[in-house]
Symmetry: C2
Subunit: 212 residues, 2 copies
């Protein structure tokens, strides 16, 4: 959501929320207590909205002429973008967290268990990348759309696997070589967006949080 | 999705899928093997789409002048409809199934366990109903929108709790009396839609399936 506010150059005020000490003023806006929560200006005063994908679509509807459109014009292509955005949130992101949080050397953890989660995560990335436009660099072509922004925050943090899991473990050579090249092209394009630079801190600030 | 095809009077062909014997022609359309799957006509030939909410939005985009609009015009109200449609799919429907599937007299099941799930389900319905337009009869007012059609298929099957769980168990008298009256008004309006009648079989056909 923060990326899309930047991409569309929509004026906004950023307020941090301490997830361990949620202030009553925040909980009054969103009883579910989740970020991001947007407080928007309407004809009836300021009102809250939440759920990331809902917020992205709201920004698209409420600011139709700001920056890149989050969807292709064609209804079929638009639906396909939504299907793969759902794949990111329901499959890729959970697989990212299962892989990152697994402890191969404590409790019931084993190196084989870690390897299984690594392959599951890599498999999801391959499945996703196969759906991309062959040329790109973005998912549907020359310009980024919703699904690119939904995956971007996790994609630009893949360095956490270098730090905690001995590397992401992409195969050096495999039958998926072409797929990984396409993935690399996508990732490079995403990392080059100004919106990413303006919403990302240096790794040193994330490290203690991920370590915990 | 079937309801909305009927509501919008979009020409379609209905094909049943046996979930225990999925035909290769179906799996070729949707590798995830889930219903509903829509095969749509595009400039590049017939192509598949899936995920219920994606399909509903596709029908809205692709047939903009067919029948009732699934969303209010105002971007804020539209986002609110999506938030509560998400509440139906992520909270109400899972609570419906947990309550229905719980066996109080077998294994680790207890009558107290059943009562807890009953109250959770009723609590979700109350939370949902409090968000409705006070007059209605539908969620946002005189005409049904997306969220009404997302909940409708479960709402018109609440009789399964009479059959298998000794009744839904709505309180006879409670501080939520007004809320339950509003719920009743909504349910009556939904049950009266022609689209519901045209997509619902007699209870006797569902009974052996639910019983299993």
């Amino acid at each position: 959501v923060w990326l899309v506010l930047e991409e569309k150059k929509i004026p906004y005020q950023y307020k941090e929320v301490n997830p361990y000490h949620k202030e009553p003023s925040f909980l009054a806006l969103n009883p579910r207590g989740l970020v991001p929560t947007l407080e928007v200006s309407t004809a009836d005063g300021h009102k809250p909205l939440y759920e990331s994908t809902v917020l992205l679509e709201y920004l698209e509807d409420a600011y139709p002429n700001h920056g890149p459109s989050l969807y292709p014009n064609n209804p079929y292509d638009k639906a396909k973008v939504k299907i793969w955005a759902d794949f990111v949130t329901s499959r890729i992101i959970p697989a990212f967290h299962r892989f990152l949080q697994y402890q191969p050397n404590t409790g019931s953890g084993t190196p084989e268990g870690l390897e299984k989660l690594r392959q599951e995560f890599l498999g999801k990335l391959v499945e996703f990348t196969r759906e991309m436009d062959p040329v790109g660099p973005y998912f549907t072509g020359k310009e980024p759309v919703l699904v690119d922004f939904v995956l971007a925050p996790w994609a630009v943090r893949l360095w956490v696997f270098d730090e905690f899991k001995g590397g992401l473990g992409k195969p050096e050579k495999s039958e998926d070589q072409k797929v990984w090249e396409r993935w690399g092209k996508w990732l490079e394009a995403v990392k080059g967006r100004d919106s990413i630079k303006r919403t990302t801190s240096d790794a040193q600030h994330y490290l203690p949080i991920y370590k915990r």
